[in-house]
Amino acid sequence: MLDQPAAQLPVSQRTNPERSFSEEVRALRLGDGEVFRGEGILAVTKAILQSGVSYVGGYQGAPVSHLVDVLVESQDLLDELGVHLETCTNESSAAALLGASINYPMRGCVTWKSIVGTNVAADALSNLASPGVIGGALIVVGEDYGEGASVIQERTQAYALKSSVWLMDPRPSLPTMVRCTEKAFELSEATNTPVMMELRIRACHVTGEFVAKDNVPPAISRNHRLAEPAAHNYDRISHPPSTYAHEKIKVEVRQPAAERFIVEHGLNEHLPGERSDLGIIVQGGITNVLVRGLDRLEVEGKIPTLVLNVTHPLAPDQIADFCKGKRAVLVVEEGAPDYIEQAIHVLLRKRDIDTKIYGKDVLPMAGEYTAEVVTEGLLKFFAQSANDIDLSGPRERFEAARAGRTEAQRLLGGPLPLRPPGFCVGCPERPVFSAIKLLEREVGKVHISSDIGCHSFATLAPFNLGNSILGFGMSLAAAGAVAPVMQKRTISVMGDGGFWHNGLLSGVASSMFNRGDRVLVIMQNGYTSATGAQFIPNTSGNRRDGETTSDIAATLKAMGVGWLRTIRTYNVGTMLKTLREAMSTDDKGLKVIVADGECQLARQRRIRPQIAAQLKRGERVVRTRYGVDDEVCTGDHSCIRLSGCPSLVVKPSPDPLRSDPVASVNNGCVGCGLCGEVADAAVLCPSFYKADIVQNATWWDRLKWKVRSKVIGAMAGA
């Protein structure tokens, strides 16, 4: 075992690293008439405060993490307004938070990443939608779809339809997003129905400006508490027979009310155009792509367009009126199935309107509607419906751009190397997978059940470890039927974020209850690191105080886990030994290894300013980093295949007789020591060295150094 980096905090003392949202926090305080500048998701956050919410909650996930993150930093403002903030442990808990608006006339907003978060929240969501709300309830979902998405590609629309929850999909322009947010609360109250608002990745991060309004302190709040609970009303309970009544009210009362509200308040937008025989109906969120596509075909401003900032419910009269008298209407609806297009077909058919509807026949059924995809769809639409428009020029340019791309790809000669996301420099999770790779050298391939979190990067190069991902905190449960049919034990990997989100009950409790003979590795780094290092129950405290809420090992012991080891992850040798033992012990129960190592990103954020301050004060600081002797390295790169550290790179061999590039450690090295550990544990080669550089050396350091370099210099020269 090698020397380990100092200054790692025990998990109970890990606190949220310094992340500064000071600029964003200031923006949330803007008042009437001031101009807000910033990203879409922050604009929505501001609009929530302008709407007089009593409470906000959520579970982090791209692209909507910032909503809660910024509010966490805005505690003063929230205290002034009396807004309660709940940093929930999963989306289910966030959805349940909205239960407050069932009985009390207070507005609330929760947020999560969809589709996965909506799946987790589904039970509470159904039970919320059935009785309905009297205070406005808004759910801001990050529609993680298309380029940059990290989850399965499904539509939130399905939930809106099945639960009778209204769904907004605002045009990605800040004033529109802000107006939709404010109107969402009104719509919710006017129809006693929760409203979801989906924001795609680019919409969350789009920059822009709008004229702000004052924040509104809620009437019922932490600062203005209620003396009495609501009177008992069985109608508000989602149990029979109320549920039978709810089902009818949803379609007979609430939906017609919503349809009226949408039209009366002008939530959907009409973009005028001179071609009265043609039209386009588009989801609000796709509008910009569509408009640019029309511009490219030189027909921008010519085709009447109905922008659906609300995609459920549709306002039937509005759709019918728009289509009436037109020869052809194109529906631009991203994702499958084509719910909106189908609904429009049915609606027109029932009213005997014979406008031809185009949609998924000229546009693809699945996949992101990028500029290229929409332009191609428009070309097809116009070719079939309006061949009087001369598109030969634009078509030629479009085809030329495509031919140019083919030529570029020919020049480059095949696909470019991919850059899959990987573990950060010095990540404490990487050594665990190095150890698993070494374990596989001994025992052969093992079934590995992976999970959501940074550790899922192990499914990519260079580790390529993992057989399935079944959802957040699901890795142990997902091995439930694999383990019993496997000669070797299965290994499930889970993060501490996943453990608290779901893994504790779905995984550990179920495995214990069913006497599962499996191995579980819990990555305990102290944060939900993949989403921006948010607090979790085993972090030191939450955003309010420094007390640790819950300890993982203690929790597992209380649940009766007998075989439990907590290992520092960087010790690859020890980790390997422990894994070997877990795989071979006679203990037939659940075997849990808590792989402990502080998130290196968090650690670096924490210690960098400390070290800078120490150096400035002239204190002695030892900087540790690793290196490769380029004269000893022969360029096989086994070390890279077993670690993949971004700071472990290759460089041309300095040897005039060798052509293969040699390994090299670049200046990003944080001195975690894994490369040396792996070289040691895997018996790779003697190329690695550790260098401790003494900054602000004492006289003793300097004297020692002087004497040593003299003597060593003499010996080397000899």
Partner: protein, 501 residues
């Protein structure tokens, strides 16, 4: 309607693309220009690639109500890339076009994981990237921004911003960009310095210092006569390699050993191909200076090593340094320096007791302490003993076999001889790596080279087969590609009619 100027930025996680985007937006806003930016940050990890997209309305235009959030192929005016492969990716995806796009990119490479984990040289062909860059964009501003950042003491994204300002493609004066850097308020001085560097490069006011990758020659005295001998006998095209071989082997062992090197080469030179001689000279020098513990100790205690380490880890001035070496010799490494008979007994014992490949001695030696250095120096001093070691005897036999194959192949075809020479490249590394490489080398020797020399393949086909097998052996450490390739070679080789007797 006036059209927006479109910018696409390709960057690696951690390159500061988001900050770059903020600077551009802030500078445009300060000039009253309509501007919109968006990004695909994805997971914030280090190794992923990501893009940012910005639209800026030209001066005097009313801010358009609808700016696009997605780049469109053939409709990008300015493409910025923090790294060369990412520039290539934007070209590959059709966003950079010769009729429209100004490409501003750093020429340095940060190798992707697939390129780094290759068993040999897996890096993407830079020549192809540069050709695509030149042919597929309207104009280019290319320089090593990583190095410019280092020279300026700043960060790459500020250099890129400077290059954008220097390109003059946006209706935004330098002062507005500088104000944006100041307004952001972080590392203002270094960012402004980097900005100025980038702008200077873009305007051709600064020369790019070329980053050198100098090859290191072995320093050794008293081999002038051997070098003279080589110069007398060998063609000039092979001399740089042969001379380095002489120096290396003298430092590695002694003058006699270097003379043996020349003796061996004489037989190859007699085959009459200067090209073959050069290749064999290169591989032979590497093979003869095989990596045993003595050689590692020599390297770790060589005179210029400490200075090299200091430079590599950026130890400043007189900052004291502690260097710890990691060694983990096993039974095989110990046997390697014993005489053959003893070595055999030790290995047999190791095998019998199951300790072979299991028992290792983990040692951490601090070469910056007097005792630590002296210990390694002692091992390095075992050089005189080396010719008596089992490893030495084995290596010489292997080398002779290899030279024999080359000599036998040359009359059949020089290509085949060259490929046999080149197959020595598979033998490298230590421990398991070395064993795997040697096994692959021997398999190719048995299953491809031997049948080829026996005349069971045409020399042309044999040369191809050896080359294919070598590439396959370097494709994956598990040896799957090699097994497949060898099977294919065996299947393809025509069965020569065997003599009846």
């Amino acid at each position: 309607m006036p059209k927006p100027i479109t910018l696409l930025i390709g960057a690696l996680g951690g390159d500061g693309g988001g900050v770059l985007c903020d600077w551009i937006v802030s500078a445009a806003q300060s000039r009253g220009l309509g501007v919109q930016a968006t990004q695909i940050p994805g997971v914030a990890q280090r190794t992923g690639a990501t893009t940012y997209y910005v639209e800026v309305m030209p001066a005097g235009a009313a801010p358009s109500s609808v700016l696009a959030l997605n780049p469109a192929i053939g409709e990008v005016d300015i493409a910025l890339a923090t790294e060369l492969l990412e520039a290539g990716r934007m070209i590959f995806n059709g966003f950079v076009t010769p009729d429209r796009t100004t490409l501003i990119a750093s020429t340095h490479r940060v190798l992707a994981i697939g390129e780094r984990m290759a068993m040999g040289d897996g890096s993407f062909d830079v020549g192809r990237l540069l050709r695509a860059v030149k042919e597929r964009s309207r104009e280019q501003i290319l320089f090593d921004m990583d190095q410019a950042a280092e020279e300026s003491g700043g960060v790459l994204n500020a250099v890129l911003l400077g290059a954008l300002a220097g390109s003059g493609r946006l209706p935004i004066p330098d002062g507005a960009f500088e104000a944006a850097i100041r307004h952001a308020g972080k590392s203002v001085d270094t960012n402004l310095a980097a900005f100025a560097f980038g702008r200077g490069h873009a305007r051709g006011e600064l020369e790019q210092a070329v980053r050198e990758h100098r090859k290191r020659q072995t320093a050794v005295q008293g081999v002038a006569d051997l070098i003279e001998r080589a110069r007398r006998t060998y063609p000039a095209t092979s001399l740089d390699v042969v001379e380095e071989g002489i120096r290396r082997l003298t430092a590695y062992q002694d003058r006699r050993y270097a003379a043996l090197y020349l003796d061996r080469l004489d037989a190859i030179a007699a085959l009459g191909s200067a090209e073959l001689l050069r290749e064999v000279a290169r591989h032979l020098a590497v093979r003869m200076s095989f990596e045993d513990v003595i050689r590692v100790a020599q390297a770790k205690t060589s005179a210029d090593r400490l200075a090299r380490v200091r430079a590599e880890v950026r130890a400043k001035g007189h900052e004291p340094l502690e260097v710890t070496e990691h060694f983990k010799p096993g039974i095989e490494e110990i046997a390697a320096i014993l005489p053959p008979a003893m070595a055999r007994r030790l290995i047999d014992w190791g095998r019998r007791t199951g300790r072979l490949g299991k028992t290792y001695f983990s040692m951490h030696v601090r070469t910056t302490t007097i005792l630590g250095f002296a210990r390694l120096r002692l091992v390095a001093g075992l050089r005189w003993w080396r010719p008596r070691t089992s490893r030495y005897v084995e290596e010489q036999a292997e080398i002779e076999r290899w030279l024999g194959q080359i000599r036998a192949a040359a009359p059949l075809g020089l290509d085949l001889a060259r490929e046999i020479a080149e197959s020595a490249r598979l033998i490298k590394g230590y421990g398991d790596t070395h064993k795997r490489g040697l096994d692959n080398y021997r398999r190719i020797g048995d299953e491809v080279i031997a049948p080829a020399l026996a005349g069971r393949m045409t020399p042309r086909a044999a040369a191809d087969a050896v080359a294919n097998a070598r590439v396959a052996a370097l494709a994956d450490p598990e040896g799957e590609s090699l097994a497949k390739t060898l099977a294919a070679i065996a299947a393809a080789a025509p069965r020569m009619p065997q003599a009846a007797e």
